[in-house]
């Protein structure tokens, strides 16, 4: 008398086989998130529409009262800020997914299974990048509808999109780290609230030159501002090229800031992940 059996796949032995398993597992975990989109399209659509709503709010409700230093359309000034803000808001999505899985015991189930442990995190990252990529595409289309355009070369435009996704990639690890750190879904609300001032304390919505001196300096050095200035420059949108060092070197900072975030949060996230066994 035995339980009806199933032929058990052999364990990987060579490093190459192990790598293939890790990649296959990561893709399966990613596929799980894509299946969520199909099974619950309303959540996906609402998330996409949320950023569109923010654009319309700032573009049309407050936009009339805004002037861009050096002239130019406020909505063209605004859109790069919105793109970067949507990358920042992605931290919440990552965090919610990580804490929900941990709280429901799904993470433990994965860890007790003969799958590649790295795949849980890698799959999360790929799924979030796809999600943010889709969100960015919708936002770009929304920008075109409200009168935003890019004026740079195709290479510059692609570079700008690349910089935005590079920021998101770094923030994936912030989300995973925080998600593993807080462990209960209620604490996510605190982060959701903190993300707003963090996002607004930048040049996303208003030029830093219009802020009180010290606040402007903080906003100028916000990693988000670097990406926004750099993308304004690459898209050829108004509002870039201030006199400060940070403004002058926006392109460099837009590459370096996410690298620094990665350097800090990637090891932290891995460490947290390993600490689950302690």
């Amino acid at each position: 008398m035995t339980v009806p059996t199933v032929s058990t796949p052999p364990m990987p032995e060579t490093p190459l086989q192990r790598l293939r398993w890790s990649l296959a597992d990561a893709w399966t975990v990613t596929g799980r998130d894509l299946a969520h989109w199909v099974r619950q399209p309303a959540t996906l659509v609402l998330n996409l529409l949320f950023m569109v709503m923010v654009v319309l709010m700032f573009g049309y409700l407050f936009g009339g009262a805004m002037t861009v230093p050096g002239g130019g359309s406020y909505r063209e000034f605004l859109m790069p800020g919105m793109f970067a803000l949507s990358m920042l808001f992605g931290v919440e999505a990552t965090m919610v997914a990580v804490t929900t899985d941990a709280a429901r015991g799904v993470t433990d189930r994965f860890r007790a299974m003969p799958m590649a442990r790295s795949a849980v995190v890698a799959g999360r990252g790929v799924a979030d990048m796809l999600n943010s990529g889709l969100g960015l595409a919708v936002l770009l289309a929304c920008g075109l509808l409200v009168g935003w355009r890019w004026y740079g070369s195709a290479a510059d435009t692609l570079a700008a999109v690349g910089l935005l996704l590079w920021l998101r990639f770094a923030l994936v690890w912030v989300g995973i780290y925080l998600g593993l750190l807080v462990r209960n879904p209620e604490a996510v609300v605190a982060v959701q609230i903190l993300v707003w001032p963090l996002g607004f304390l930048s040049n996303a919505i208003a030029p830093t030159a219009t802020m009180p001196g010290w606040l402007g300096a903080v906003a100028e050095w916000n990693p988000l501002s670097a990406t926004i200035s750099a993308t304004r420059e690459l898209f050829g949108n108004p509002g870039w090229g201030g006199v400060s060092w940070a403004d002058q070197h926006a392109l460099l900072l837009a590459v370096v800031w996410p690298l620094l975030i990665l350097a800090v949060f990637l090891p932290l996230a891995v460490h947290r992940w390993q600490r689950l066994s302690r």
Binding site: M1, V3, V6, T8, W21, A24, G105, R109, P114
Partner: protein
Amino acid sequence: MATLPVLAEGLRKRYGPENALDGFDLAVPEGSVCGLLGPNGAGKTTAVRILATLLRPDGGQARVAGFDVVRQAAQVRYRIGLLGQHAAVDEVLGGRQNLVLFGRLHHLGAVAAGRRADELLERFGLGEVGGKLVKQYSGGMRRRLDLAASLILAPPVLFLDEPTTGLDPRGRNEVWEAVRALVAGGTTVLLTTQYLDEADQLADRISVIDHGRVIAEGSPDQLKSRLGGDRIDVVVHRADQLAATAAILGRAAGSGAEAEADPDTRRVSVPVRDRVAALTEAAWALRDAGVAVEDVALRRPTLDEVFLHLTGHPTETADERPQEVTA
């Protein structure tokens, strides 16, 4: 005895000043169900998490299905199923989708994973709801899906960590039935529970755990006879009749045990040997003595009484647990 499916020797695990496990020993023979019984914070979950390779022990060693849980964790994971305290399934996916996902992560091919999912859905009576979102499942259905998901590779060893906590009686019965069927098929099961009746229903052997170590071990019958089996509770109307009632119940019990009287609740309680004879005898004697009785109940010992009896201290939750170890 190297072939014991679950073998733990002197496991230790500390969390800060707290000893979650303090010399935990356990041996589960093949094809049996071992119930790990204890209050919150006794170390049940820590023990299961170590055995299921989720947690590294600070000391001691454990082998599951013949493999060391620390050094050969990958081999262990091939041979175990784990049912944690929550139904660890994806609520935004369908039941079948969940099983296919977990099948793929066990490296079954797409076709084999699909076939296995259908087999398991059928087996756990979920065939008709396989396409529905898990969100719409009842608690019992979720738990059965959870159980199916931990059986993808038909593991020889299954860990169930409080499998029926939070379920209604119907859901609890559904899970019990499913576990019994598995055991009939030869799976070795380690089950943790806070409920004496659950261990009673499912387990061949029970290990009682307190403060991170096993303090008593035996078949459910052996443990219960150590406690004096069933009890009669009598609540009297007048507190001044407590002493007389205790004397009457002591004689009627036939177990040689003394009745305990609690003046606050006006309740007298005594373990009995022969349930029916003792109850009849007590009822007659109480009426003859003119005791005004408010309530009479014949009941099984509670986990609290098991603990009081075995450890000399009542059950505590993890938060209220004192630092000193009394056992």
